[in-house]
Point group: C2
Chain length 433, copies 2
């Protein structure tokens, strides 16, 4: 390929798109020096041609039709920052078939159709890069694909949703209620007006599916991720966690051993000494355990216009470099390993249970016999008076047991006439593996 300038067609011009345009304009000199040719934005597809835009672009580049970009022979690279599933998928497919490398920031799409899109890219000798789809400004996709490529990754723990981490931080540090923290996050612009996908863990689940796919070289699907939201977390739980040396975090897990894999998103009591515990506010961090490298962690902003644009433009640089060298899409994304999900009997963790029980003789021994019957040994047991006469609160932290056994314990506790309420129930992570 001759060294002509490279032209980008961008689909969408929202938060991320305007960051990308700003960055390409402001860093023009550096980008040109890195590539040896100039990169310019040739077309931007927008929904509303008349809308006032905060970011200056020549109005001549705006157009309204996706096909204006994907079928334009002058467009060398396509950047998809429009979001959504079907239209974005179609646009990416057509771009790849037309021989254009694609950069996307679309986690929803990559979590569902990533496997087939990456195959299509490889078949068409085009790159499909998606660094911005997980943990905004943190180059975590690249780290798994290149930096740690030699290692066998056995576990990932991630704070991959900034909204929920912000809410938990403010509930803990400022004693705000869940609702106050959520409202503030919405005012600051990083929680959506409908926060369901964040607080119910779906957004994090999409990212964990993408990370697990890469880390394990396995076709992990969104449906493989078990998800529990954060709405049941109370300020009291946070205080209790702190007393026991934990912080409450919404964590994504992807774990692998000889029995298979286990991917989940759930609220967790995380040991305060764990590096992820000190991740505050809307920051993201991904903690990776590799058999050879041991513990590593990658920390940074999980969202925002400019951080996300950093990842998109780094992807643009990589795609352009490959295009100039004629080596696009060389990496096969066929999974090396077949996917085997662990059953609940093989998924093990520690658990924190807080129970409201009758304050009667024999209750304590009834409780402990329920635990031992299901092969749970206990690390801590604390009984304290309940708020009402005749009630006691019991807090138990188990040693590691299977999720199956823990489920059976919970069912038996619910059925017991001595147990008035299971106030809370958290997975516990002891920190350093």
């Amino acid at each position: 390929m001759t060294k002509k300038d490279l032209t980008i067609g961008m689909l969408g011009f929202g938060t991320v798109g305007s960051g990308v345009a700003t960055m390409i304009r402001d860093n023009e000199k550096e980008l040109t020096q890195r590539l040896g040719v100039k990169v310019k934005i040739g077309k931007i597809v927008v929904r509303d041609m008349e809308k006032e835009r905060g970011t200056y672009v020549d109005h001549g580049v705006l157009c309204s039709n996706v096909s204006d970009v994907i079928h334009d022979p002058d467009i060398d690279v396509v950047v998809e920052v429009m979001g959504g599933i079907e239209e974005a998928k179609y646009a990416i497919q057509e771009s790849l078939k037309a021989g254009k490398p694609v950069i996307t920031a679309n986690k929803d799409l990559m979590a569902i159709h990533g496997h087939s899109l990456l195959r299509l890219a490889h078949e068409n000798s085009c790159d499909l890069y998606y660094e911005a789809s997980v943990a905004g400004g943190i180059p975590i996709i690249r780290t798994l694909e290149d930096g740690l490529a030699s290692d066998r990754i056995s576990g990932i723990m991630g704070i991959v949703n900034g909204t929920t981490n912000y809410i938990l931080t403010k509930m803990k540090e400022e004693k705000w209620s869940y609702e106050e923290a959520l409202t503030k996050a919405q005012e600051l612009g990083f929680a959506e007006s409908d926060p369901t996908s964040d607080v119910e863990g779906l957004d994090a689940a999409r990212k964990m599916a993408i990370l697990a796919t890469l880390a394990f070289s396995m076709e992990v699907h969104l449906e493989d991720v078990s998800v529990e939201g954060m709405t049941a977390i109370s300020t009291e739980d946070l205080e209790l966690a702190e007393q026991f040396g934990y912080s409450v975090k919404m964590l994504g897990f992807a774990q692998r051993d000889e029995d298979g894999i286990d991917v989940s998103v759930e609220p967790v009591f995380l040991a305060s000494s764990h590096p992820l515990s000190s991740v505050r506010n809307e920051y993201n961090a991904v903690y990776i355990y590799g058999d050879a490298v041991g513990e590593t962690m990658f920390y940074g902003p999980g969202a925002g216009s400019m951080p996300t644009a950093t990842s998109v433009v780094s992807d643009i640089l990589a795609a352009c470099r490959n295009l100039l060298l004629g080596v696009g899409g060389k990496r096969s994304h066929n999974p090396m390993n077949s996917r085997h999900l662990k059953g609940e009997d093989h998924q093990s963790a520690q658990f924190f249970h807080r129970l409201l029980v009758k304050d009667e003789i024999g209750v304590f021994s009834e409780l402990t016999s329920i635990y031992s019957k299901h092969h749970a040994s206990l690390g801590s047991i604390i009984q304290r008076p309940g708020e009402k006469e005749g009630e006691a609160e019991v807090i138990l932290i188990t040693h590691s047991l299977s999720r199956k056994n823990q489920g059976e314990i919970i069912n038996e506790l619910k059925a017991s006439s001595s147990v008035k309420q299971i106030i809370s129930n958290y997975r516990v992570e002891g920190g350093v593996k």
Copy 2:
């Protein structure tokens, strides 16, 4: 290039080399799947052919002469893990001239001769990778070259020497003396029997020169790094730091603004809320501030056989991939920016001073007038009784001032008859930029 198996020639078979051999053996299947061809170790140059080795290798691969590897046409890739400067430099130069890509873990060499070696690699269309030379298992070189390539990096702060961080952690948490902590680090095998290069900051300075070169795309030399060691840090300083909300860390800095760059290694009072403050023991972490991405941090093991091998083998994968595609050494390493070192009048920071003064009328106002004369405003001033009658201790934390002014203040304090001793003097970092 036809897809034949690729053969590695390794120079050296110490801690890192045996990790590399172990990893290539244990992960053979995965490496082959990633590359499409098999990678094997064809030759290993050792000093002592007869020595018993903990890592199994076929004795037929051992040889005693560097030229057996660099001039062997069957060797495709050279891995330099022998250490030292002159012999390693010669071996790398000859390998590159012979058209063989080189992977090195040699920070001493890269800090001094990296610029010329990278140019030589580019001229010979060969890759020269050196991920393992900085922060062992953390893929920080790649992050600066690719993941954050689009951004303008304005600052790096790094814990890039595991030995000193281990010593400081143990002095703080276990109340060990400096000598006790050093001895333990030597027993554990991560401090050398001669710890000078670690504790005097030279090891960290080499790494900061390498990081600054990449981050600023500038030819930064080892001599450009101003270095202060850790031997003056006392347990009392650590306690005092904690009282004021700081931890004492040996930090590497690389900072850039319109006045130029400033690279240093020094003991610092770092705000406890800063992400680097929670990096404990022998771990490394590199905190990067980019104009667009904002704050990021990369954390992991800084040394050790297998973590370092992870970086070396990831580099081997990248070099092999480029070799198979015929695109080795395509990246020019010519610096994009010319190097301009800031003078001391443009290097600014906050400082913590602890002084032993005469407890007399007028001393306090004499002190404060020295500070204001040199344009230093004070954030905190605390006076407390000294251990002896007639003495007082004064602790001052300045707002930001230039190093030049701070030097003048120190000189004037030394000259003052009211000041009996400057007990300690630290740079202060307020945390989040």
